[in-house]
Structures are given as C-alpha cells and as structure tokens.
Amino acid sequence: MSPPKIDYKRELESASKGMILIHDPRLLIKLIVRSLVQKVRIQHAGMILYDPDKDSYVLSISRGTIGERIPEDLIRFNKTNPLIKLFIQKEYKYIFENRNAIVAEDINKLLWKESVISNGNGTKQLLHSVSAQLPKLNAVACVPAYYQHMLLAILLIGEKQDGSRFGQEELDFFSALASDVAMAIRNAQLFEYLKREAERNRNLFIQTTIALGSAIEAKDTYTHGHTERVTKYALAIGRQMEASQAYTFPYKFFENLYIAGLLHDIGKIGVPETILSKQDKLTPEEYEIMKSHTTRGAEILSSLSGFEEVINGVKYHHERYDGRGYPEGLKGEDVPMIAAIIAVADTFDAMTTDRPYRKGMSKDKAILEIKDCINKQFNRKPVDALIDLFHRDEL
C-alpha cells in the first residue's frame, strides 16, 4: 500500500496558522518537526537553532524512531562546523541554492561540478566534511532557514521510511516550512528583546525617581530617611487596605503610589533652605511659601505623560478630610485616595521621628493621635489600615 499523497500546500497553510497561534517558537518547531516525521514518513527530523547568547547553534529539537532521534540540547555547533560554514558563508551559496537544501546523495555529483572544482580545494574539502557530518546527525538532507540573510535554523531531514529519494517539491516544502520557522524565531526574539528593553527603561525610571527623591533630602536635612519611610508606610497601608478589601484600587495603583511616595515632597526643591530649616515658627508669608511645595511638585511633574495619579498624590497630600487642608481645600472622598494614604504615612513618620527641636513620640502614642483625627484630618480607611499594621507589629 503506497502512502497517501501529501497536499504540501495545505500542510504549509496549517503550519503558518500554527505560527500565528503559538508564540513559543520551540513549541511550534516541535509540532512542525513531529508532523513532518509522521506525514512525510521520515525516520528522523530535527532542528538546529541559533543561540544568540552564545553565538552558536544547538541541535534543539529532534523527533523520530529510537536510535534515530538525537537527544535534545546535547550537541552544539560553532561557526567553523562545515554545515554551518556552508550555510553562512556567501561564497558557498551557489552550492545549495538550486535545491534550497543540501542533499547527501547530491554531494558526490557536486564534487565533480566545474564550479566546485574551479573554486579550489577549500570547497571540495568542505563538501567532504559536510558529507561526513550528515550521517552523524542521522540526516540525509539539510534545509537552512534565514531571516534577512541571518542563519537562524537548520532543518535536518532523515531518510524516508520507504527509502525513496526526496523530490524537489518536497524540498521546496521543507524550505517554506523552514522560513516560517525562522520568522517565528525572529518574532519571538524581537518580542523578548522589547520586553527586556521595557524592563530596563522601567528600572532606569525608578532609579531616576529615587535619585530625585534623595535630592530633596539633601536639601531638607531635618527629614533624613523620611522619603523612604513614607514610601514604605504608604505601600504597607495600601496593601493592607487591599487585603482587608476596604478599597478597590485601579490598575497600576501601587506602582504610582510607590513613585508618588518617593516624590511627594519634590516641590520643596523650589522652597528656600532658610524656610525649610527654620527652627522658629514660620511667618505667614513663609508658611505660604512652604505650603506651595505641593503645587510646585505638581508643576515639576506636569510635563510627564501618564503621571496623573502620581501628581494627585504629590499635589494633594496636605489636603484634609474636613476640607481645611491645602492647596485646594478638597473635602471627604474628593481627596484622591493616593494622597489620603500618603497624608497618613507622612504624618505618622513626622510624629515618630526626632527633630532638632523635639524628640519623636512613641508609635502607640502617634497612632492614638492619628486615630483621633479620623474624619477631621484623615480618611478613615488608611488610618484603619495603619492601626491594623501597628497591631500586627508590621510598622
């Protein structure tokens, strides 16, 4: 019984569809290689993949009968390997471009080709080496896969189960499959690269924010470590509110809270040091300037897109629940939650740390005072969270 004829075009279409559905190229290649073995009825099919980290190639996927298939990720090839050399060096391209593949049984014929002979011993030697290499890899044909002239993979094709030769139609099919694979690999690599870049940018951004935050501390010597502690308290309060389901936070809230915590006093950069470090009571004029650090901070950050929530935290962290705060006198739930949380964290830290002119109070005393200010200075929800944290000794 002869095997059913394969509709190569249809197989190719289904492989391409797989490429769209499957984002992990390794999985896609496994599927392709497996279906090759089954449908084309070959004893072995494998894929050598480029590893950009090590700038070499690894036989990564192999399917077929026991003894024919090759253990995955066991064998590595560098660029001096004859097979790799043949496929990456332009001067050898003419050897395989007719058939889109190098086929073991062609090699003897190739050795007598005029163009090969005229190319000198190097080419002959290379073809001999390739010929010796193929059986070690249980392959009778190899198909290169490129993306923009970059060799990304080599498809290894073993002998057919019925021992017949490969026709050009089949080789073209393998070649088309191989370029689908190259495309899938390239997409996955690009995606990985972009993800890493985005991560790197994020880290850079966080570092910049921390640097900015410490710039304020350098100026306002009273508050050493204040920014860091406020950020820590604010995040803990937020997490506690989330855990006790006191509040439902929008997307990316905690990232914004983190940044707003670090930058909540950034506007103090615009306040003269004489006012910041004054130990006596501020004059009404000086107090007005001091208060302006909220709006100055918002202004500094106003040019950054996507910073609306952070700006809310910076601008309104001196608003009060009863509407007697600044800069706008927002009232009750109109005070954005991000600012209401920072307000509690900010006050708690200010009360519990030493200042040159007074000693900080104990945490339990501070908690009691803050509790007394529920619905006056503070929103109840973050205060409740603070109290919970205090009772669990997590402050």
């Binding site: 253990p71 990720d73 066991l74 064998i75």
Partner: protein
C-alpha cells in the same frame, strides 16, 4: 557483543567505553555513535549499574553524567576512589555545574570535563585521544 567477538577472532581487541547516563535517548545515541567507530560500548542507566560494569568489564574509558537521579556522577567517583579503582579513566559530562562539583571531580582524578551542549567532534577527539593512548 557480536562486533566484539569478531574483533577478538581476528586478534584485535576493541577498546571498551562505558556510557553512564540516566536519559535513555542519550545512552542510545552515544552507543550507536561510538559503535560505528569501532569501539566496544557498554551503557549504564545509573551509578549502581555503572559500578557493576566497571568491576566486571574494566572499561578503558567512562563517560559519566554528573546529574542522575539514583546515585549521581560524583557519588560514583567517590565510590571508585574508595575501592581503589581510582585508576579508571573518567570523563565527566554535565550541564551547567557549580565550581564545587568541578573541583571535587578534579580532586577525584577525572581526566576530562565536557559541558552539554557540546561540540560532537570535541567529544570524539577527547574519547579517541584517551583510547589510543
């Protein structure tokens, strides 16, 4: 076995190679690969079996996987050392290993170390250099 008998009948003693790996695909691939190169190949799927074959067959060279479920490569080395079998020539085969393992393997007298994924020709060279010596 058959190859061995043929070889012995014509008075050639084929070198003996023992491959120790708990992955059957690797054992099978390596067995076929070296068999074709006129080497008498033995395989073991774990440390205990390896020790048995070492004492009965006295292989000229051992390819020893480091990471194995039952009795790993380092434990095999220690056992060989303890039994005064330290002269068995061993090449360790491993994935990424820590410094400690490599140090201990060296102290226990391995003659080579090859990392997966390896270049096939390098393994070939390493094995043939040892067997022809």
């Amino acid at each position: 076995m058959l190859l061995n008998e043929v070889a012995e009948s014509v008075g050639v003693c084929m070198p003996k190679l023992l491959i120790v790996d708990d992955e059957s695909d690797i054992r099978e691939f390596a067995r076929k690969f070296f068999l074709k190169r006129k080497i008498d190949v033995f395989v073991a799927s774990g440390g205990r079996q390896a020790l048995e074959i070492i004492s009965s067959e006295k292989p000229d060279l051992i390819l020893l996987d480091v990471r194995m479920e039952e009795m790993n490569g380092i434990e095999v080395l220690r056992e060989l050392h303890k039994n005064g079998n330290a002269c068995a020539k061993v090449i360790m085969v491993s994935g990424v290993e820590d410094e400690e393992t490599i140090k201990e393997a060296n102290a226990l007298g391995v003659i080579g170390y090859i990392h997966k994924p390896f270049i096939l020709e390098e393994l070939e060279k390493l094995v043939f250099n040892q067997l022809n010596r």
